[in-house]
């Protein structure tokens, strides 16, 4: 177990990840329950989850000797459909972008990806060591909403990083994070001339069964666990409840 921040930690299992970036697994603590967690490592690597301690299950996973895991569920980022990709992550939305990054690097396509990552403060950044390593070879831009001690990087909300990207307006834009952050990122991307046909959002809803039956994640004609969690923006904008 790696402690990432005050309330975020990463667990690594010996099993190999059979999930694509953007997919999720249901992780359970026996006797407590299950929680949907996006996979943080790339396809074919050892399976990792980066978890925010926010509910009864997620608070206990780190202390559990045994956890249950089923999945993967849902669709993944449609990255193989595009030549260039800009991935924008806010807060705990970053782990599914890390798995995207690993997947693309593993297939020799690391240069086709630009990553924009925003956290509330420097102490809220996850994967600090990896961020340094990636910085040497990959295009990862980081910003924080507010500064604590010794921060030399950018300050500002993550959509503001879009202006600095160099992959061009033809790039697909993948967005994941809190609802307000996603909404603002879409707005900014549209303002800068990115095409809405190439924008994708990863949505968080209450997923329980993972197989499109139990109904908790139903929004419009979609079951987010099965039809998502990643949706083209064109669908999101038509359904009043898809944007939270």
């Amino acid at each position: 177990m790696v402690v990432e921040t005050r309330d975020v930690y990463t667990i690594r299992l010996s099993a190999i990840n059979e999930g694509r970036s953007g997919q999720f697994y249901m992780i359970s603590v026996p006797g407590v329950g299950e929680a949907p967690i996006s996979v943080a490592s790339g396809f074919g690597r050892k399976i990792e989850f980066t978890i925010r301690d926010i509910g009864s299950v997620t608070a206990r996973i780190r202390h559990s000797e045994t956890v249950g895991i089923r999945g993967p569920y849902g669709n993944g980022w449609p990255w193989t459909d595009y030549d260039k990709i800009i991935a924008v992550a806010g807060g705990i939305g970053f782990p599914p972008v890390r798995s995207l990054l690993e997947e693309m690097v593993d297939l020799g396509r690391g240069k086709d990806l630009e990553v924009l990552y925003g956290a509330r403060s420097p102490s809220d950044l996850v994967y600090k060591k990896m961020l340094e390593d990636w910085g040497n070879t990959l295009d990862v831009h980081i910003t924080v909403d507010r500064v604590d001690s010794g921060w030399k990087g950018k300050v500002g909300f993550v959509p503001s990083l879009l202006e600095d990207t160099h992959l061009g307006k033809e790039a697909a834009v993948f967005i994941i994070g809190p609802p307000l952050m996603m909404m603002n990122t879409v707005k900014e991307a549209l303002r800068l001339g990115f095409s809405e046909d190439r924008m994708y959002l990863s949505l968080e809803r209450r997923m329980e069964c993972g197989i499109g039956v139990c109904g908790h994640c139903n929004v419009g004609e979609f079951y987010v666990c099965e039809d998502g969690p990643i949706f083209p923006y064109s669908k999101v904008k038509e359904s009043p409840e898809l944007f939270l």
Partner: protein, 296 residues
């Protein structure tokens, strides 16, 4: 139908609608004459989707034959199939091993509106029976035809004629196009919310509602019928996209008349009227169909 009943009972555990202490319920039955022709107090949803069960173990399912299901209730399973069958192993296993023999009502029931959704004669069935005096007209699916070789089976003409006559006694509501007429900001949702007490009875009584909750209970992981009307139904770490009761009521009706229509080309309602009968504050799903949205 006694002869077929006996033949079926050699291969299946036999269940049927029976009267017990003034209420019609589903229970084990020994002979055909025990079967009640009245409608059961609750829809027979539990044959395929139990109220509460451990999902860590799926036992081998016994073959069951259920007699006396009303058409409107059976239609619920055919609708659920479109979302659930093949995905939920518990439902799928039971569906495969259960024979339903449904009765077509001879006369319209009070409040029911099955003709609005194609009832009371079903296009899909295992064994469909329509009483005419002392005898039954029968429609039997290929799968179960071997039990009815000594019976005269209908080609459907009698049923078609009957359906027309029945329709003249129970006028169908204008359901077609409701998915286009209905409005997101209609005052209906707030009006319903001003009365609704979030009891969830409408979901539990509905033969088409399939949502469930999953939770751990000691060594077991349970699934339990759930209700989209309850406040925590959609709460997650990202928030709750239906905090208010009017939003949850709208979801219930949008799921039935808009979303399911869009994804499965069916309305998720059979016109059984159970939700209306069981609602303690008189919320009527027919209002959602009949409401003059454009006049608001």
């Amino acid at each position: 139908m006694s002869e077929a009943f006996i033949a079926i009972s050699k291969d299946f555990e036999m269940f049927g609608s029976v009267e017990r202490e003034g209420e019609i319920i589903f229970d084990r039955v020994g002979e055909f004459d025990e079967i009640s022709e009245g409608r059961s107090r609750y829809a027979p949803k539990e044959f395929l989707m139990q109220r509460n069960e451990n999902v860590l173990l799926l036992k081998q399912q016994e073959k069951k034959a259920v007699f006396g299901v009303m058409s409107c209730d059976l239609k619920g399973f055919y609708l659920m199939d479109k979302q659930v069958l093949g995905k939920d192993p518990f439902y799928t296993e039971r569906r495969k091993n259960t024979l339903f023999a449904n009765f077509v009502c001879n006369e319209p029931c009070e409040g029911g509106f099955c003709t609005s959704f194609g009832g009371p004669v079903l296009e899909e069935y295992d064994v469909q029976a329509l009483r005419s005096g002392e005898k039954y007209h029968l429609l039997v699916s290929e799968k179960y035809d071997k039990y009815f070789r000594n019976y005269e089976r209908e080609d459907g003409a009698f049923f078609s004629k009957f359906k027309l006559e029945f329709g003249s006694k129970m006028e169908a509501l204008q359901v077609d196009g409701v998915e286009n007429r209905i409005t997101w900001n209609s005052g209906l949702w707030k009006e319903f919310a001003s009365r609704c007490i979030s009891c969830g009875a409408c979901n539990f009584s509905c033969p088409t509602c399939y949502c469930f909750d999953l939770y751990d209970d000691g060594d077991e992981r349970k699934r339990e019928w759930d209700s989209c009307i309850l406040s925590g139904f959609t709460s997650s770490s990202a928030g709750n996209n239906r905090k208010d009761l009017d939003e949850r009521l709208r979801q219930r009706f949008y799921h039935k008349f808009v979303y399911f229509k869009k994804s499965k080309d069916e309305y998720l309602c059979t016109g059984c009227n159970r939700c209306v009968e069981d609602c303690p504050v008189g919320i009527d799903i027919k209002e959602v169909i009949n409401h003059n949205y454009s006049g608001e």
